[in-house]
Amino acid sequence: MKNSRKLLSILVLFIMLGCEKNNKNIQQLVAINPLSYTDVAFSSIKDTVFVSTYSGRISKRIKEQDKEELLIQLKDEVYSLQYSDKQNLVIASTLKSGILFIDVHTGEIKKNLQIKKDTWLNSIFLSKDDNYLIGFDTKGNNHIWDLNNDYKKLDFKKELPNSFIRYVDKLGAFYYQTQGKYIKWNPTDKRIEKEYKISGKLVDINDNGDFLLLNFNEFRMFNSKADSLEFKNKHPYYIYKYSNGDTVHDPYQLKLTAARFTMDKIYTSSLDQSIRVWNKIDGTLIDEWYLHNATISDIDISKNQKQLVSVDLKGEIRFWDLK
């Protein structure tokens, strides 16, 4: 018996040393880039946002303050952020840690929703009433969490096969993208409300029910009531900036990275490092903002629609007061 205890003590010592060695072998060649902002989300009416990086940093940025206020440093990559007003939480989608719900005051992880191994969500979307969190993973599996029902997962795979959830409107209807069309799905009655023949990545729906979609370097404004495409457009040129401040227009239409509605305008950002402002009625170009010097990875618009924030892959953030 005594000998067994001695043996056990020695065994534990060796296991501890062995574990220390093995831990070194699980390093990955990811979560390195500390510079690029991957996403941005407003956390107040204006001037204050949360930003994320590939290196796992989630920080608060305040307008006209140069320094970040660190919320949490994760040992993981962060791709997408949402801010929950109701719960005062930042919701982050990560490479290996799943979806994290982080208290904005303490930086404490309040909840962790696990995703299957070797897959992750590049984009998450929180419904405007904070009821549903949605997204699909890199293997094409939809994820819908009912945040008011103990994070219960909703699954409509049987009813809506081969479709990807993209959006939840203010009335709680889900929008699924499937071969060349969108399906408006009522999750309560479990029935299709309407189908729309439009393709592209649905990024925003305004109060009139109009869709804003991205299709590589083109954005589309779709009138869902009339079931017709109102207009589509591209950034007309790439604005090359010389060091002396002069600019030249190169005839390239690069990929769009984000787009948002306001009451009367559409804002689009691109790999071309610019934000373009469009008239929502007829799609004419109103303005172009080209103060960023890197790919703009994301934009967000404040709830009162009076401010836009943009972040880029070289760590620049800009607040734009809207007219």
Partner: protein, 165 residues
């Protein structure tokens, strides 16, 4: 007997701990010299002055980054080799072998897609492909049986064969 053993274990622990502390202190003072060594690692990351990865040598290499997120190479897309990244940390090309079938690739990518590929099959044969968007592509390949030159403009294919007149 028990007390004796634990005393001995404590003494050994103390001895090992002091030894490790000394070794750690000493190792911090000495700059490692690898000039006469062979270094065996699973990965090397070269970062720029901002800490952004610019070169990764790895086995396997990570999935590609693309303007703010990371896409999967797929279940059979695992590769090893050297990968280059631009100043925004975007994957822009590499010199790699795949971890399954055994192809070797040299690739050049824009910020949104692969645009040039030079590839050799493990069983013989090689191909060069360059392409843009909107269905413009040039392919040149040679195998044991034949050679091919395929030109595709706006998704319309014009095919040349060795015996075509």
């Amino acid at each position: 007997m028990d007390t004796k053993f634990y005393k001995l274990l404590l003494a050994i622990n103390l001895f090992v701990t002091i030894g490790l502390c000394l070794a750690y202190y000493k190792s911090n003072k000495i700059k490692p010299d690898f000039t006469n060594d062979i270094i065996k690692v699973r990965g090397i990351v070269v970062v720029d002055s901002s800490g952004v990865e610019r070169v990764i040598i790895g086995s396997p290499l990570p999935d590609p980054t693309i303007h703010g997120y990371r896409i999967s190479r797929g279940d059979y897309g695992s590769i090893s080799g050297i990968m280059l990244y631009d100043s925004e940390g975007q994957e822009r090309g590499g010199y790699v072998t795949d971890n399954g079938y055994g192809n070797i690739f040299l690739t050049l990518d824009s910020k949104t897609q692969q645009n040039a590929l030079f590839m050799a099959d493990p069983h013989g044969g090689a191909a060069i492909q360059v392409w843009g968007r909107n269905g413009n592509k040039i392919s040149l390949s040679a195998g044991d049986e034949d050679i091919y030159l395929d030109l595709t403009k706006n998704n319309k294919t014009l095919k040349f064969k060795t015996d075509e007149e």
